[in-house]
């Protein structure tokens, strides 16, 4: 029924034009479209020095050392160098944690004079050596050991001054430098003394450095599995962990809030400003090398305790009372220890601060007149401390008063000062304040070093685990600055420069803050996950109608090319 219909033949120019059209469409798609799509949909990830970050996180980049320099003054000893060598040997042998070690050094002025005439001439500089121990060199001295003969008939003893770094060591007058037994016993005594003084600091630093090198472990580690060295002082690792959970995290600034909470309407005022200025401000100034402090105070009235905290009445005369009712007999109200956990009625007591740095709260609580005197069971000071938060003291005024004077507040401030020192992490053992502050500086340097390193490690693992997060350039700048600060800190530690400008603490502070800034970069919110259906839905309307004709025409052109090539080949063979 149908004739053989043949369409009119196609001119070669038309065919070529058609091929060119298809080719140009494809070239636009491939040369312009694909790069554009790639540029606009790729996520910008700034390059990070991943290897360096990882090595810092594993603790391989820096072997932190805490060399403590101890100046020894032994004016009346004939051969101090020999004694020092023995003591140094004893110290090194007994030290399990080699990163924190003591280095003994003969005091310079003495070594000069003893060489001259064999007798020591006490220069005036020695007597009035500055208490902060800064020498002309870059290092600062951790302690000064002064060896003097004790009273006759006494054994070796030592005494630590409260206000300076001088350790007065009195050796027994029967000490004979030439006899080895005597010198050994003295050197052992000196090394034990020095170790005892710096023991607490060493435990803390070893714990900090060792617990930080591992990635966060999934299982709740039982106490004792951390790789800390026990040292020769029978360290209780649980004690160290308890301290770690008490101490506030380091921050360059702390905010101190002193609050007077009274359960009724009185007292209405207190002389806190003068008390702080007189009693606490010098301490805060001394601590300003480590952290700054801002202070404020408030008074809150009608501050009742949590409803489930009910103090019980304990009469004074325990045998005679059968019923524990307050019937005019003398006695006191007692709070049990497990009541203390819910003492702070956070629902009603306004304790929040808007500062971006952490707050340490100190509360003086004045109970209701009907519940006075209120005591905490088994507490000598009627106060308690909340780890990483602050301290509370219950004040029982002798008579109902509307104003608390400086004298009334002194016992509270005594306790708050002690609690502040322990919350900041200052070791309690050596009674000398300068040594405690130096220990705190060293501890905080170690803490900052490890925290910055572990943040870098977290960032490293994060970039590996989430390939779809964008990493802006500010992050790489911060990481670079962190790494340089960490390197500086490591160097300064080795040199023994802990405090002061450019010291390990300041470099560590910079490193930690830059690392936090890099990790908590605001724009690094994870890309909202696009399920596959959404991707199909976005691309299909564009790719479908555009892609199918292009593809089909490309296929057709290629088939035509192949056919032509076959014909030509057949023609060539035939010819």
């Amino acid at each position: 029924m149908s004739d053989a219909k043949i369409p009119p033949s196609d001119t070669p120019e038309n065919a070529r034009t058609r091929s060119w059209v298809v080719l140009s469409f494809w070239s636009v798609v491939l040369l312009l479209g694909v790069p554009l799509w790639w540029c606009t949909t790729s996520i910008y990830r700034a390059p990070l020095p991943l290897n360096e970050m990882q090595s810092w996180a594993n603790g391989r980049a820096c072997r932190a050392e805490f060399p403590l320099l101890v100046d020894v003054e032994a004016p009346l000893l004939p051969d101090p160098e020999h004694l020092l060598k023995t003591v140094q040997h004893a110290l090194d042998d007994a030290n399990d944690f080699s990163a924190h070690h003591l280095r003994l050094r003969l005091s310079r002025s003495q070594s000069e004079t003893s060489g001259k005439d064999g007798r020591s001439v006490l220069h005036s500089t020695q007597l009035t050596s500055p208490s902060d121990g800064h020498s002309d060199e870059d290092e600062s001295v951790a302690a000064i050991l002064r060896l003097t003969p004790g009273e006759s008939g006494s054994t070796h003893s030592y005494q630590l001054n409260n206000s300076s770094r001088v350790i007065d060591l009195y050796y027994s007058p029967s000490y004979n430098p030439s006899s080895t037994a005597s010198s050994t016993s003295l050197s052992i005594f000196i090394s034990n003394t020095l170790q005892e003084i710096f023991a607490e600091e060493q435990q803390m630093i070893s714990h900090l450095l060792s617990s930080a090198t591992s990635a966060p472990s999934p299982s709740p580690s039982a106490p004792g599995t951390t790789n800390s060295s026990n040292g020769s002082n029978k360290v209780n690792v649980a004690e160290v962990q308890r301290k770690m959970s008490r101490i506030m995290r380091y921050s360059p600034t702390y905010h101190l809030t002193f609050s007077l909470f009274t359960a009724s309407g009185t007292p209405t005022s207190w002389e806190i400003e003068r008390s702080i200025d007189d009693y606490l401000q010098p301490l805060l100034d001394a601590l300003s090398g480590i952290s700054n402090f801002t202070v404020d105070s408030q008074v809150q009235f009608y501050a009742s305790m949590s409803p489930n905290v009910v103090p019980s009445w304990v009469p004074d005369n325990l045998e005679q009372s059968e019923n524990l009712q307050q019937n005019g007999q003398p006695g006191k109200w007692v709070l049990k220890r497990d009541d203390l956990s819910s003492f702070i009625n956070s629902a009603e007591w306004p304790l929040a601060s808007i500062t971006s740095y952490p707050t340490i709260n100190f509360i003086v609580y004045v109970p209701l007149e009907e519940q006075t005197p209120l005591y905490i069971s088994e507490s000598a000071t009627n106060a308690f401390l909340l780890p990483q938060w602050g301290g509370v003291m219950v004040l029982n005024p002798s008579k109902p008063t509307t104003h608390l004077s400086k004298d009334d507040l002194k016992p509270a401030l005594d306790i708050f000062a002690a609690q502040l020192m322990s919350l900041l992490g200052a070791p309690s053992h050596p009674p000398s304040l300068p040594i405690r502050l130096d220990s705190l500086t060293r501890q905080r340097s170690a803490e900052l070093l490890t925290s910055a390193s572990s943040t870098l490690g977290s960032l490293y693992r994060l970039t590996k685990a989430l390939p779809s997060i964008s990493i802006p350039t500010s992050v790489s700048t911060s990481v670079g600055s962190t790494l340089s600060s960490l390197n500086n800190a490591c160097r300064e530690l080795k040199r023994g420069r802990f405090s002061g400008p450019g010291g390990a603490l300041e470099e560590g502070r910079n490193a930690a803050s830059q690392a936090e800034k890099a990790f908590f970069e605001k724009s690094m919110v994870g890309q909202v996950y696009f399920p596959e259906e959404h991707k199909v839905a976005v691309y299909l309307p564009l790719m479908g109608p555009v892609g199918v004709p292009l593809l089909m025409s490309a296929v057709k052109e290629i088939m035509k090319l192949i056919k032509d090539w076959k014909i030509r080949r057949a023609g060539a063979v035939a010819a």
């Binding site: 219909k5 038309n14 309407g265 209405t268 009608y302 839905a537 309307p541 109608p545 555009v546 004709p549």
Partner: protein, 572 residues
């Protein structure tokens, strides 16, 4: 120069410990004698409503980090953001000016529906002021549990005439006034809780023990406001930082009493209805309610749901009732009464509960209400989703006084007014006009008009605006509800402030439930557009007769079916 330093030192460093005998001005503005004062004012309103105004005034010192009565959290926020004067208002409801008259405290405590905030911030230039404003709004949002952080540059304006600083500032040239509002913000117990925490007596003693969210948010109109400003005494020798916290509410007595009896409002049984016997048409089932038969009895513990626990020992407490002189008021025993005209004030007992009782009064006593200087209302005109108009009707009821007022509008950026269409019905009433046009997605329009209304006349202010189409992501989750437009603020030259109601603007809203339909639509468009062009370029077009037919089998089938169908029809 040194004298200047000295003067500024004197002005800025008052000593809190020196005793002061300050000549106090009106008790409302300067109360420098005490650290803390609180007062409760109860006023009976026509229609069996009671206006209760709680006012708490605390005085603190400048630049001092040690606080007693002044709330520390607020002081910290002010210091952090360098704000020198702050006014924050949370409001709900509508003040019925026709029935209740002029607003209490000259309208200064009431804000627009939702949240309204304005502050004078000290800064060197505009950019620093904006930054400090952001700090202030964020800090306040954390303190008051409100989304004040949404007050960003798109909602902030710098009013020129409407607001004047109420405090005494040492260097007003360095202050920037910024104003923002959120008309959509809900106000609920989570805003009342931090408000009460700022008070010294904390809801335990004194008048704050009456504040209960369940009654406060059942009121017909309620507002909570916080005003912080520096105040100095008359000779400027002593300056303190004062925070005035106010809670005002209008409670309906009948509704409160009903709630006490049954928490769920249920209709009254037929025999208890008061029907108007004078209406002739309809009887039996029809009942025209007769209102205002009597002044219902109420007491403090009944309408607030809890008794007043004594007085706050930290300062003075005043409870005053304004009721017609013939109305009886009974107070609990341990309190003394002082009567001045319509106002009866009581001193509260120290520790025991205090209650006031107003017995039933039938027939009701007439209550005098002062008419406000202006009545204002605002509404939309026009129809459609492209454009509309705003109409503000302002009436001056006074027979003799011309009222000079300032009308402030802060519009969102998607509502674009046309300034040339701004018209007023009374000629020559527009004295001054300040305008800042809007920029898409950056800032809204700011319109301030100074108007004069002659006595006994009504002014209608109208202007047209265009509505924009927003982007897909800019619509809120409940876009079909509409967008709230902040109330207009009207300030008279005597300092009386009223606000109109907020408006609900309907923008063209897409149907958010059809993303796949739009995908299909767009792919069809793409197919037609690209496909046609491409096919024209690439395909070779020949006549249909020149090509062998394809699909012959299909055609045969179709032809057979056609013949079958025709056969059937022929058979019928």
């Amino acid at each position: 120069m040194r004298l200047l330093h000295l003067l500024s030192a004197v002005l800025l460093f008052p000593s809190a410990l020196t005793s002061f005998v300050a000549a106090a001005d009106t008790p409302e503005s300067v109360q420098l004698d005490n650290d803390y004062d609180e007062s409760l004012l109860l006023k009976t309103l026509p229609g069996n409503s009671v206006l209760a105004s709680f006012r708490f005034v605390s005085n603190g010192t400048f630049n001092d980090h040690h606080h007693t009565v002044f709330p520390r959290s607020l002081a910290q926020i002010l210091e952090h953001s360098n704000a020198r004067e702050l006014h924050l208002k949370f409001s709900l409801g509508r003040w019925d000016a026709e029935q209740w008259g002029a607003q209490i405290w000259d309208g200064h405590t009431g804000g627009g529906t939702g949240v309204e905030l304005w502050a004078w911030v000290e800064a060197d230039d505009d950019a620093a002021a904006d930054k400090r404003w952001t700090t202030l709004t964020n800090a306040l949002s954390g303190l008051f549990c409100a989304s004040l952080n949404f007050i960003d540059s798109t909602r902030t304006i710098r009013p020129v005439l409407s607001f004047q600083p109420e405090g005494h500032h040492a260097n007003p040239d360095r202050l920037h006034l910024l104003h923002g509002g959120l008309p959509r913000e809900p106000v609920c117990t989570e805003n009342l809780t931090p408000f009460l925490k700022l008070l010294p007596c904390k809801g335990r003693a004194g008048i704050s023990s009456l504040l209960d969210g369940h009654r406060l948010f059942d009121a017909q109109w309620q507002t909570m406001s916080i005003d912080v400003k520096p105040v100095c005494n008359s000779d400027g020798s002593q300056c303190r930082l004062q925070v005035v916290q106010t809670v005002d509410m209008v409670l309906d007595v009948e509704r409160s009493l009903q709630r006490r009896d049954s928490p769920v409002p249920k209709p009254r049984p037929l025999d208890q209805l008061n029907c108007d016997p004078t209406r002739s048409y309809g009887s039996g089932d029809n009942c025209f309610p007769q209102s205002n038969l009597a002044d219902l009895p109420w007491s403090l513990s009944e309408i607030f749901g809890r008794p007043l626990h004594g007085s706050c020992p930290l300062g003075t407490t005043d409870v005053c009732v304004v009721a017609p002189a013939d109305r009886q008021v009974f107070a609990s025993q341990a309190s003394a009464e002082i009567k001045t005209g319509d106002k009866r004030c009581y001193t509260l007992p120290q520790k025991s509960d205090f209650d006031l009782l107003l017995p039933r009064q039938s027939p009701p006593l007439p209550i005098e209400v002062t008419p406000p200087p202006l009545y204002a209302s605002r509404s939309f005109t026009g129809h459609g989703q492209e454009r509309g108009g705003v109409q503000a009707v302002i009436r001056n009821p006074s027979p003799t006084e011309t009222v000079k007022m300032i009308y402030l509008e802060s519009l969102p950026w998607f509502m674009k007014p046309y300034l040339h269409t701004l018209k007023t019905t009374i000629p020559n009433s527009l004295v001054d006009l300040y305008y800042r046009p809007n920029l898409d997605r950056q800032r809204g329009a700011h319109l301030e008009a100074a108007l004069e209304i002659p006595p006994n006349s009504t002014l209608t202010l109208t202007y047209d605006f265009d509505k924009s189409v927003l982007r897909y992501t800019e619509y809120p989750p409940d876009a079909n509800r509409g967008f709230d437009i902040a109330p207009a603020v009207i300030t008279t030259d005597k300092g009386y402030q009223i606000r109109t109601t907020s408006l609900l603007l309907n923008l063209p809203t897409p149907d958010f439930s059809m993303p796949y339909n739009t995908i299909i639509l767009s792919s069809t468009v793409m197919a037609l557009a690209f496909g046609s062009v491409f096919n024209l370029l690439v395909r070779r077009l020949v006549g249909a007769e020149e090509v062998p037919l394809r699909g012959q089998k299909l055609r045969g089938l179709v032809a057979k079916i056609k013949r079958l169908g025709e056969g059937k029809r022929k058979a019928e």
